[in-house]
Symmetry: C2
Subunit: 336 residues, 2 copies
Amino acid sequence: MKKRILISDIAKALGISVTTVSFILNDKAKEKRISEALTKRVLDYVKKVGYKPNELAKSLRTGKTKILGLIIEDISNPFFGNIARLIESKVYEQGYRIIYCSTNNDVEKAKELIQMFYDRQVDGFIITPSDGLEDTVKQLQQSNIPVVLFDRYFPELETDYVGADNFQGAFDATSHLCLQGYKRIGFVSLYSDQTQMKERSEGYLKAMDNNKQQSFIQKVQMDASDDEAMESLHDFICENRLDAVLFSTNYLAISGLKASKKYNFVMPAMIAFDDHTVFKLLEPSITVVSQPIKEIAENLINILLLRLQGKIKATRKMVLPCELKIRESTKAKVTL
Amino acid sequence: MKKRILISDIAKALGISVTTVSFILNDKAKEKRISEALTKRVLDYVKKVGYKPNELAKSLRTGKTKILGLIIEDISNPFFGNIARLIESKVYEQGYRIIYCSTNNDVEKAKELIQMFYDRQVDGFIITPSDGLEDTVKQLQQSNIPVVLFDRYFPELETDYVGADNFQGAFDATSHLCLQGYKRIGFVSLYSDQTQMKERSEGYLKAMDNNKQQSFIQKVQMDASDDEAMESLHDFICENRLDAVLFSTNYLAISGLKASKKYNFVMPAMIAFDDHTVFKLLEPSITVVSQPIKEIAENLINILLLRLQGKIKATRKMVLPCELKIRESTKAKVTL
DNA sequence: AAATTGCGCTAAAAGGTTTTATTTACTAAT
DNA sequence: ATTAGTAAATAAAACCTTTTAGCGCAATTT
């Protein structure tokens, strides 16, 4: 790691022009009809001295940075964290790098981050869009920067998108609860217009309708504190004498569990949307709707890379199936 | 987000030179004796048209990228994840960006990542060094790139470092177990030469000596699968009829808990090093040694920024106290 | 014989900044 | 009247690549 060696040093050392070296290094030797002998000579020398081009200069010239921006809701949520990790290692193989930030569902922060990444000339974006980010995404598209949304999308906007089948996931979970014999099944969600939340609601409602059951829905403010959430969940579950609850996110489920500890009530049968280390360990372990994290990450990257290479034009929307992982928290109800 | 406006556009529009604009934008107006009138005129115009300099060109010229490399053991471990998040938002305020990668304790991967970040000319590093990374870190230092290590360090290398007082943390935890009346207290660690592990071992051993108790130590292979870890933990705890265990990391503790579920044995009193969402929720909740995450993050950034500004010369080593968070898993032992 | 094509390579421009060295137009001092 | 000094601004080099346009020559075609 001493003094950097430049492309001009190579040219000088071999007595040829910088252009030639550049062509060879960028795999344009054939195209530019550089002789094989020279190509080999250059390549050998480059390897010998361990030349690495200056990425900054390269980016400045080409306009490509080989960096992708990942705008995520919350990196400390294992669902997003795991997706981020998978994305990171996938793009790494392709020579791209990730630079990421969490928005915590704050639109203003999201806008600012996107602007910053844009200023830094990232080549493309993967975004979990918060409510109100529609215009910003549209602007990116108009600037011809590839954007792939995930987890949720904007129905009125033609964008690439990868996500889970939230409707089906919630529907299956709810149906499972019905089948197990539960009669008072509640649904906990967020005050949010995000599509994934709506779809989960609809899945729950549809299953309830199919089973001719009464619905109980409690929404929690997105910026509610943990204590506020716990209190309203306690009230919701106890006052309605629910015998089962479907939580629309893993952290809502965790708030529910904390509430049952704090207020000392027995948590009824429950299912959480998105898995979490906790859920496997608890006694009883918690049934979850699990999103296909690996497939989501793979598809996100694939679509984005294809876009970057200009290989697709029509927008792609991918909806992947969820899996219901049945654990102890939803044992068949014993009717008294 | 339309056509980029350049510094030359501004110069042309105002009928002055590019140099002048550059000086003013870089707060050198005073130093370069640019008149206040002109300074104001330029600043106003720049704000009006919303000019943002091209960061790539800037970096190419100055050699500074305003990007910091964060090389971390595992972003999906909440201890590291939270530190990463804190670091991210702290440096953000200072105009720096983070680009991060997880090494999963693989030296070769770590070397590769550091090389890559180096090639991308990051301005500085924060690293949780894996075993064997010593030479690489030394090379960075010789290249005059600021490096701050955390969580562990190399005793033979003069480097900046921020970490917790692992000895004291393990000592306090073990002493607590002794005080509660436990007699067969085991310690679970890793086959690793990393300093934080050694210090924790020593803390445990010292407390055992002080209490004139027999020691039980089980180490787990760093690259062991979850199943392997679970099996050896089961054997360790049951065959030795331990009545208490100190786990040297949170994920070892989680493996232990999983093992107790899988092999259906009762987990004795236990303490984990590093907190985790799970630990608060379990029944009983788990006592932990908690590292001062916020302080660690703050100090890491502070030291790195001071280095970047060339404001410190001597290396700094900061050791911050741990806190023992006593929960239900270490109730006083009832002697039979 | 003149015009075209192909080959193997290269000079120079472009990308957008920062910074060094210099110029210009003054005023003050000798 | 000349010199020295200073304030205010600038031209051009530098950072390191990629890419466009083109050169000189030989072989082929018209």
